[in-house]
């Protein structure tokens, strides 16, 4: 008896528990490599097509649009990254509902925070890999001068910004716990709204004033702003410190909020029998 309980209570560091989710997602990803290819091609085509709009604008106006090209290129790449991360993490519940594994995963002795951490780590790594690949391929289509880019500032904005994006994805991902039938659709709508309000393809100034209020509270707005500053204007890490501070603040508010909300949604599902209905 003692040996059994010792094993059950003793082994397995927190990090190992989180990594179990990273490993699982990696295994799933390997099995679905065909889809990865589809997303890569889609990402490249999308990036090239939208960036070509800037070239067209240049051809029509006869002005130098090299900054506009970079502006749109960064917009599509950041959006490719954000949607990859949002897609991955926000499927945390829905995917396992499709597979039917949800109960077996949720009844394991893993604190929910470590479960969500594992899902987030994989989502961010996956998003980064995919976006870097899209970037590398898209470069073949354009002649862009990256002389101004401040790499350190860019990386800092991406990493700090990813924290609040992961939290946002968790908030979207808990919806299927509350609405088993429609939750997944609702998650997608959250993502679509983000595209509109965050200034992916334009400065948020061009939005109607009432929509700008939402831009103000979307972390994606600041991520785009920071990356554009670092890559187009060549702003250093000191110059983007304000943006980094705002993003850090978003993270500090949204991470606890998303964990609290997820736990609340899980308790709701367990009270109402919405985790799963079969068997």
């Amino acid at each position: 008896m003692a040996s059994v309980t010792n094993r059950a209570f003793g082994s397995g560091s927190s990090w190992a528990l989180s990594m179990a989710f990273v490993e699982r997602q990696t295994n799933l990803w390997k099995r679905y490599w065909g889809w990865e290819l589809v997303w890569l091609v889609y990402g490249v085509v999308n990036t090239v097509a939208i960036t070509l709009i800037a070239d067209q604008a240049g051809a029509v106006s006869g002005q130098d649009v090299s900054q506009f090209v970079l502006f749109l290129l960064i917009g599509t790449l950041v959006w490719a990254y954000l949607s990859a991360v949002l897609d991955d993490i926000s499927l945390v519940v829905q995917w396992e509902r499709w597979e039917g594994t949800i109960e077996h995963t949720l009844m394991a002795p893993v604190p929910r925070s470590l479960h969500l951490l594992g899902m987030s780590v994989f989502g961010i790594l996956h998003g980064l890999i995919r976006t870097v690949l899209i970037f590398a391929i898209a470069l073949l289509f354009f002649d862009i001068d990256f002389g101004n880019v401040d790499v350190l500032a860019t990386v800092a904005v991406v990493l700090v910004g990813s924290v609040s994006v992961a939290a946002l994805a968790i908030l979207a991902g808990l919806l299927p716990l509350l609405y088993p039938e429609r939750g997944a659709q609702m998650s997608m709508m959250v993502q679509a709204s983000l595209l509109l309000i965050s200034g992916v393809y334009y400065e948020v100034d061009v939005l109607p004033a009432w929509l700008q209020v939402f831009s103000f509270i979307s972390p994606a707005t600041y991520i785009l702003d920071g990356i554009r500053g670092a890559m187009i204007e060549g702003e250093s890490i000191v110059d983007v410190a304000d943006t980094l501070a705002i993003l850090a603040l978003f993270g500090m508010i949204m991470v606890p909020m998303s964990l609290w909300a997820f736990n609340w949604a899980e308790r709701y599902a367990k009270r109402t029998g919405k985790l799963k209905r079969m068997g």
Binding site: A108, R271, G279
Partner: protein
């Protein structure tokens, strides 16, 4: 940790009555589990028997911390399922009636994941998975996607998943449904073995009355969410014997009489049908 593996007290659960927002319509709730109490002793195999929809799986889900009771309490080795959720989860594992896996991943990849989240290391998981699945005739297919497995084969992997983490409290919800007779026997032997080797305690639901009689030390009957009687199979048979020799009464008869689906009714259906 106290020594009573499972204490269920006055447990109740209804579905469908609640509403999320005050403006939603209120429906009449279904009472799935109604004031259920029982205890399982150390090393015991305890059977929970009842008709479809009588509330067996709902009881199992509440013990597994997947469903919150409306009333009553459940303690696993003294840990409360609501207050000490994580401690309870470390002590138990469960086989569900539907073998639920990541279908595109291999059996081994599935087992790796489902055991790593119990804190086990990869090497130990691989060794034990192979050991268990070999006994269930699946050792050579451990690297194949679950998609290729028949339902019964998937059920075997589900059994392996639960035994892999050596739980001290095992919840088996129809573990042998869909298995061929040989595999059924193998799983039943397994259940006895973990009880003996790991000092595990087992809660078992089944629709196979022979299995219940052969495996269970005690059996409780659920009817409409209530436990109507409890005892060893001999005690249950004598309860309904009514002058008949106990040896002649099968567990099927016990089931039919206790759950109210009596032979007489069946005969009537025959006569009128």
């Amino acid at each position: 940790m106290n020594s009573i593996p499972l204490e269920v007290s006055e447990l109740s659960k209804s579905f469908g009555g609640g509403r999320m927002f005050p403006w939603q319509e209120k429906k009449e709730p279904i009472k799935a589990v109604d004031n259920v109490s029982f205890q399982i002793k150390r090393g015991e195999i305890y059977g929970l028997i009842g008709a479809n929809g009588s509330g067996k799986s709902t009881v199992v889900r509440m013990i597994s911390t997947l469903l919150t009771p409306d009333a009553g309490s459940v303690r696993v080795f003294g840990f409360d399922i609501e207050r000490d959720e994580l401690e309870v989860r470390r002590l138990l594992n469960r086989v569900s009636p539907d073998p639920s896996f990541f279908k595109n991943m291999s059996a081994l990849e599935n087992l790796l994941f489902f055991a790593r989240i119990y804190g086990m290391g990869s090497d130990e998981i691989k060794r034990k998975s192979f050991e268990i699945l070999s006994r269930l005739d699946l050792g050579d297919r451990i690297r194949e996607p679950m998609l290729h497995f028949s339902r019964g084969q998937q059920q075997k992997v589900a059994v392996a998943r639960a035994f892999l983490t050596s739980p001290v409290m095992m919840l088996l919800d129809e573990p042998t449904t869909g298995l061929d007779p040989a595999s059924k026997l193998e799983v039943q032997n397994f259940i006895r073995e973990v009880r003996a080797d790991h000092d595990a305690t087992v809660l078992l639901t089944t629709h196979d009355m022979d299995e219940a009689e052969r495996l269970c030390d005690r059996i409780a009957f659920l009817v409409n969410g209530r436990i109507v009687t409890e005892g060893t199979s001999l005690e249950l048979r004598s309860q309904i014997a009514n002058g008949r020799p106990v040896e002649e009464i099968s567990m099927e008869t016990v089931f039919l009489e206790i759950t109210g689906k009596t032979i007489e009714e069946d005969e009537e259906v025959l006569v009128h049908g």
